[in-house]
Symmetry: C2
Subunit: 203 residues, 2 copies
């Protein structure tokens, strides 16, 4: 089926879970997925190229883009802005390409406001799983450690509740395969296809 | 994540679309999916084994199973009954296995009444797609042929509307890969996982 529009896929999860590594590994696979390029006001590091690693912007340029609604999401860390320009994402989706954004949790929630129809994937550290087996093993951890793990678990569950899918990052290649499967499955969803078929039958 | 329950996957679609071929090819792949065995009142053909190809039942046995609600779905063709015994499906799902049923459209709609949480996949003939390219090519078909194709298309669209996914059977191996992706993606769905994580964090 020729596609009318691509999907917006948002890959996010807690800090340190390995979003960048998983996204980098996904890029090594042969897919038609397009990767969004972030904008930033920080200076390019050696070897970084404008439009490849980042779109490098001045503070004034970046703030103008925010004001004009050209940022799908953005955040300020220390003295620099980081964000996702809306134009590239929208253009690729309109052309029928699936686009992936690899961003922090707060950014993902901002994107959801503009793109509720996006596919939101929460990359999960394996610790939650380990938690179960450790608790099941019993007696190997002190009460304090169990408590602190529980706090982390509860925070992560709060975050994942806003997402469509939860992918465990136990092994990078397994996580990549799950993400590819999610993209394939989403492209087979009846709700995304039936509209086109109806048009076709009515033509 | 250790799974609490498996998925019920229903593979269906119009007669002649190749459900049996696709399901047979899927069985050649190394997955943990379990395949439901149908019951029938027809006589075994040479080489067919009870409990492998079918559960062979007398008419009285089959009718008793219907009465006692032991059939997930059933239909009568000519003088014989065909149906899906509920017990095997429920047992495997409770054990955490995904179970696939390959059945006719009417049966799939019966199953949906018992298992609204099932994953309903509509296997689609490639003709609907061909339809688009042929119409786009224009002038190569007579008005009558276009009309009859349109009638088929409309009927198929009515059917697919009850399903979750639409998989095109353009090539058997591609259809199999799409089905495997759907099963993987469904097992990553947040709604199917968060309940377990919440329990875990509260323990």
């Amino acid at each position: 089926m020729k596609r009318e529009k691509g999907l917006l896929i948002v890959l996010s999860g807690p800090s340190g879970v390995g979003k960048g590594t998983v996204c980098g590994a996904l890029r090594q696979h042969d897919t038609d997925i397009k990767y969004s390029v972030s904008a930033t006001t920080r200076s390019p590091r050696e070897g970084e190229q404008n439009g490849i690693n980042y779109f490098f912007k001045s503070k004034e340029e970046f703030e103008k883009m925010i004001e004009e609604g050209e940022m799908l999401e953005y955040a300020r860390y220390v003295d620099n802005y980081y964000g996702t320009p809306r134009a590239y994402v929208t253009e690729m989706i309109e052309k029928g390409y699936d686009v992936i954004l690899e961003i922090e949790v707060q950014g993902a929630l901002q994107v959801k406001e503009s793109f509720p129809e996006g596919v939101f994937i929460f990359l999960m550290p394996p610790s939650l799983n380990e938690l179960r087996s450790r608790i099941e093993g019993r007696g190997t951890e002190t009460g304090d450690l169990i408590e602190s793990r529980m706090t982390v678990a509860r925070d992560e569950i709060e975050l994942m509740d806003k997402y469509d899918y939860v992918v465990e990052n136990d092994e990078v290649e397994l996580a990549v395969e799950r993400i590819k499967s999610i993209v394939t499955a989403e492209n087979c969803k009846k709700d995304r296809l039936i509209h086109q078929y109806k048009q076709l039958a009515e033509e």
